[in-house]
Each structure stands twice: as structure tokens, then as C-alpha cells.
Subunit: 339 residues, 2 copies
DNA sequence: CTGAAAGCGCTTACAG
DNA sequence: CTGAAAGCGCTTACAG
């Protein structure tokens, strides 16, 4: 069975291949009769256009690449979900590409990606959205990109982030308003700008309410559940034990909850726990976690939509937006017991 | 700045473009001197080959597509992780494409996917790996595919699955050996063949041990946490209350645990709970869930590796394999209290 | 409304 | 070891 191409169709239908192309792309300037005829031949020959040939002629692939290196699986899932929504809306496809920020071969790796697949644009998620090196490389290669949750200010490109500092501030204030003053804090991964922002929100809330900042209450995590478990151990061993723990994401908060429950420390009666992100796990455990809802899907969806817009009409000014983070209170936080 | 192509390089280096192509692809039959010269020009001109042009000439894209429609996010994460591992090893890229099995436009949707992006192969995950309609379509379109966790026996294509029935049998037997006879069961999504297999393992274990099967102990879930919560409510309301619950995946088991804890039913003292999959959540909650480790990453990795092998050398007989599912006991199951 | 020509940037098959 | 020609299957720019 011979391959059916635009040429076979043209020949069979007795028209030029340009006319076939016009019918294919729903262009005007084809008489209804001709259009009918060609469409019929499409069916008869079971013609399917070749996306690669079209791509070569138009110099585009209709593929967006998504770069990530994130210990939080649910974060990635949410990123993908937002990116896919935007892609589907505009008939683009999504190619996923995890890689390591710290590998000294990051640029080689992305170079290799671009050599294997032509990408019309790339969406950068943390920590890549903060990598000046990578951004410089993409600029030099002239690849359109959009940044999600990036803290870089100077770059003149599409950027959508949420207000992490404000969110952390509100969450800390929520704990303070419940009477807590001994509030432990678990930091995130040092490569993510969110880590510094959330930490800063925590510190500012303490300062505003005249609570002394104590370094002994701060543990170094990296957003993974495992790092949360390690930090939890350090914090729950402190004497006197803090009455509240604010973890920089929900996974780590879940780890604190697990250890507390194991040690029969009652949550929230004896210990309040809060997270960040509003990941699914925050509502899948008991008690449910008080947290900050970060609009990950929405950030990524908007980023990819703007990216596609920019690919189609590069003249527009780069879109930049800051979304609000919102406090969600659940059962894991409670007024400090007066004991 | 003019675009740098194989032609500019050839001209600049004073060789034919075929020679440039040879250097590009590390083919033999180029004198070391010529090779050197061309490589130098690559650098000087900063030449980057165009993957689309290569794709058109070779009629391949080096892209594998992954189809899924699964309420369990962690399952998808694990599928992707296995698929990516295989892709990276062979310099392929992964394009993800969620879509709905039940949409009457499934075929249209995949058709559209194939029209937008040339895929060298497709990996089908549940429930698509069991869709005869989709499989027939891919065959007709001559697209190589591999099936993950498919129960279809007749199809002569790459297939990797795990032994779900055996796993469910072992888990049920584990509960029976702990003295439980009132074992509730939560089924999975009816479109997934795993659902029937796990259910059957449960029934066979009961039968082997002379325990009567009672329909009232069986709830209909769909693998989502939410459906687990609904089923949990039905089961925990039963009088007398069962002493053990076996949920067809860990998400649903986690939902049972949450409700039990909320109602102050002690797990595992008053209620044993078990899941299936060994998803991350099984060890992120307390008590940790007894479950069956399903090698999702490995199944998918092997499936994609075989798929790539098949794309390169279509002559081989289709690879089919069944992996073992393994019992993991944690704190959520315990001998029935003799009260 | 329609088409002939040239081109997208590579590789394949062949000749020398 | 090297290259000229043809081709992959489309679209673009132009002419009529």
C-alpha cells in the first residue's frame, strides 16, 4: 500500500497540490465544488497530512516543552495540568522534560532537547524559572519562554507568579492570632526563590507582632516529604517544644503530622501544624492541614497561554502578573492551649 | 542575522552538504582533516541542526506519546517517570496526552493528536490499554504502541502487566491470617481491568478459606480519593462494622483511614485497612498502609524500551511480560482483637 | 478561483 | 573518502 500524500490526493482529484493544501487548511478561494471533490478524495484515499512536513514548511512544531526539577510530585502534576489546559485550547501538545538544575550539564541537556525536538516555546518552572544561565541560553537560541513563579525582576519576558511572601505572612499571623509565639519554621529547597520569600513572610509577621525571631526554631528542608520528616524530628525534639510548626509546603507539613501522631502528640490540641500550597495531601489526611492556596495550575495555564500568544504575535509587550495566595484554614491549627 | 543551515556550513567549509551531514551524524568515511574542518565551522557559525528537517527526511520524530485517563495522580506520576527513564536512555522525548476514554470523540481526539504531532510510538496506560477500539485504530493507522497493565489477551503487541489478581489474593489472605472474616472491599474504576482482577483475587482468597462472600461488604469506588471517602462512609456505617477494609488502591484506603480517625475508630486496633499500589501516600500517613507494591515505573519503563526497540527493529516478536506484585505490610493491619 | 515553481533543511541511494 | 541529484510532504510567494 503506497503512502498517501498531498500529491496522490492532487493527482487523484485532478487539481494542483496547492488547492489540496487550501482545502486542508480551510483557506478561502476554493469553489465549493472543488472543495467537495477534494474532501471526498481525502476520505476515499484515507489521507492524513504529515505534521512533520507541515512543520518544516512553516518552521514550527506546535509543541511546548515543560522543564522541571522539583521534589514535590503534586506540584509537577499541577503544573502539567495547567500547561495542558492551555495547550489543548490552542491545539498545541506538551512535551515534558525533567532535568537537574545542579548538573553542570544543564545547558548541554537542554541543547540536546532542542536538537532532538523542535519546540515552539518552553515553560520554565521553579527552579529553572530563576536560572539566569538558562534564560540567557534560551535568549541566545531565540527560543520563546515563559517563567512560572520566578523571582527574577529584570528579565523582560512572560512571568506569572503568586505572592508567596504575603501568603507566608498571613499564615504566620494566623498562628500568632491563635496565641502561638513559639512557631517553628521549615524552609524549602534553597534553589527555589519561593523558599526565601516564604521565610521572609514568616519573619516579617513575627516582627510586626513583636515576637523575637529565634534561629533554633528554623529547620532546613527541601520541599520533599523526606526532608520534612528529618526536620520534624529536630523540631519535635526541641525543649521546650514549639506549639506550632509552619512548613514551607504541605508534604513537609504532612511529615510533621505523621511524626507527631506517632509520638502521640495531639494535633491541633498540643501542636498546630500548617503547610503551604494546598496540595491534595492537605485534605487527604486527618486533621486536614491549614495552608496557603497557591494557584499553581492557574499560574501555569496563564503562562502557557501567554507563551502561545507570544509565539503567534511576538510584537506584544511581555505579560507579567502576580496572583494572590489565599489562606485556607482546616483542622490542624487551633488556639494555643493555656496550660 | 541569516539562518545557519547545513548549506551555509557546507559552503563555508568548502565541502558538500552530504559531508556535513556525515559529520553531523558521526558517520564513517570522512577523513579526519575534513571532519575537523567541518566541526570548526559548526562552532564558528554556531550551527544547530533542525530536528524537523531531519524528521521529515527520516520520517520519524523521536517522540513517544503517553495516553492516560486516570483519577490517581500518583499513578500518572509513576507512569511518566518510568516512560521518561526509557526515553532519556534512547534520546527520545515524551509527549503527554490526557484524554477521556468515555468521550465518544476519543478516536477523533487521538486523530487530532496524530495530525498535530508525528509520534514514533504510543504507550497506552489504563484504561486505554484495554480499549479495543483505540487499539484497532492505531493498528489501522500503523502507529506502533505498547500496552501497560492491559488485560487483553489476543492482541499481538508489546504488553507489560503485573499480576493484580495474585496480589489481591495475597493481601486478602494476609487479612484472613490475622483473623479477619468481615473484610470489606472497595472496587476501583469499572473501565480498568485491574478492578476486576483485584476483586477476583479478593473473592478467591475468601473462597479458599471458606469465608462466605457477602455483597453488602463491597462498595463501588473509582480509584479517586473522593470515591474512597464515599465508600468509607457506607462501610463504616455498616452494622456490625467490618473489622478490616481492603481498598483497591491506596488513595481510597487513605480516605477510609481519614474517616476512621475522624470517627475515633482506632486503626489498626479496631479496624485494619489495606490498599493497593504502594503509592507515596501509603507511607506518608500514620499508620502507614499495608498494601501491594505494583511496579508501575518498571512496567512503563520496560514497555517504552520495548516500544523503542520495536520502532527501530520491527521484525522482533512482540515482547510480553507479567511482573510480580508484592505484599508490603505496615502499621495499618493487625490481628483482629478478640473482643 | 487555481496552479507552477521554489523552498523549508535535512537524508537516502547512488556514482565515482 | 566525497559529492550531485533526488526526495521527504508540506507551504509560501507569486502569477494569472
Amino acid at each position: 500500500m503506497k503512502k498517501v500524500t498531498i500529491n496522490s490526493v492532487a493527482e487523484y482529484a485532478g487539481v494542483s497540490k496547492k488547492t489540496v493544501s487550501r482545502v486542508l487548511n480551510n483557506e478561502p478561494n476554493v469553489s465549493p465544488a472543488t472543495r467537495e471533490k477534494v474532501l471526498k478524495v481525502f476520505e476515499e484515499l484515507n489521507y492524513k497530512p504529515n505534521p512533520i512536513a507541515r512543520g518544516l514548511a512553516q518552521n514550527r512544531s506546535f509543541i511546548i516543552g515543560c522543564l522541571y526539577d522539583n521534589p514535590s510530585k503534586s506540584y509537577i502534576t499541577r503544573v502539567q495540568s495547567g500547561a495542558l489546559e492551555a495547550c489543548q485550547k490552542h491545539s498545541y501538545n506538551l512535551l515534558i522534560h525533567p532535568c537537574e538544575l545542579r548538573g553542570q550539564d544543564l545547558i548541554d541537556n537542554v541543547e540536546q532537547l532542542l536538537t532532538t525536538s523542535r519546540l515552539d516555546g518552553i515553560v520554565l518552572t521553579p527552579p529553572f524559572s530563576d536560572s539566569n544561565e538558562l534564560i540567557a541560553f534560551l535568549k541566545q537560541r531565540n527560543i520563546p519562554y515563559a517563567r512560572v513563579a520566578s523571582a527574577i525582576e529584570g528579565d523582560d519576558s512572560i512571568s506569572i507568579r503568586s505572592n508567596d511572601e504575603q501568603g507566608a505572612f498571613e499564615l504566620t499571623e494566623h498562628l500568632i492570632n491563635l496565641g502561638h509565639t513559639e512557631i517553628a519554621f521549615i524552609k524549602g529547597h534553597p534553589d527555589h526563590s519561593a523558599t526565601e520569600n516564604r521565610f521572609s513572610g514568616y519573619q516579617k509577621a513575627l516582627a510586626k507582632h513583636g515576637i523575637e525571631y529565634r534561629e533554633r526554631l528554623v529547620a532546613e528542608g527541601n520541599f520533599s516529604y523526606h526532608s520534612g520528616a528529618d526536620s520534624a524530628k529536630a523540631i519535635l525534639d526541641l525543649e521546650p517544644r514549639p506549639t506550632a510548626v509552619f512548613a514551607s509546603n504541605d508534604y513537609m507539613a504532612a511529615a510533621v503530622l505523621k511524626l507527631a501522631t506517632q509520638r502521640e502528640i495531639k494535633v491541633p490540641e498540643q501542636l498546630s501544624i500548617a503547610g503551604f500550597d494546598n496540595a491534595p495531601i492537605a485534605r487527604h489526611i486527618w486533621p486536614g492541614l491549614t495552608t496557603i492556596a497557591q494557584p499553581v495550575e492557574e499560574m501555569t495555564r496563564i503562562a502557557v497561554e501567554e507563551l502561545i500568544k507570544h509565539i503567534t504575535q511576538p510584537q506584544e509587550a511581555p505579560f507579567q502578573q502576580v496572583l494572590e495566595a489565599k489562606l485556607i484554614t482546616r483542622e490542624s491549627t487551633k488556639a494555643r492551649s493555656s496550660s
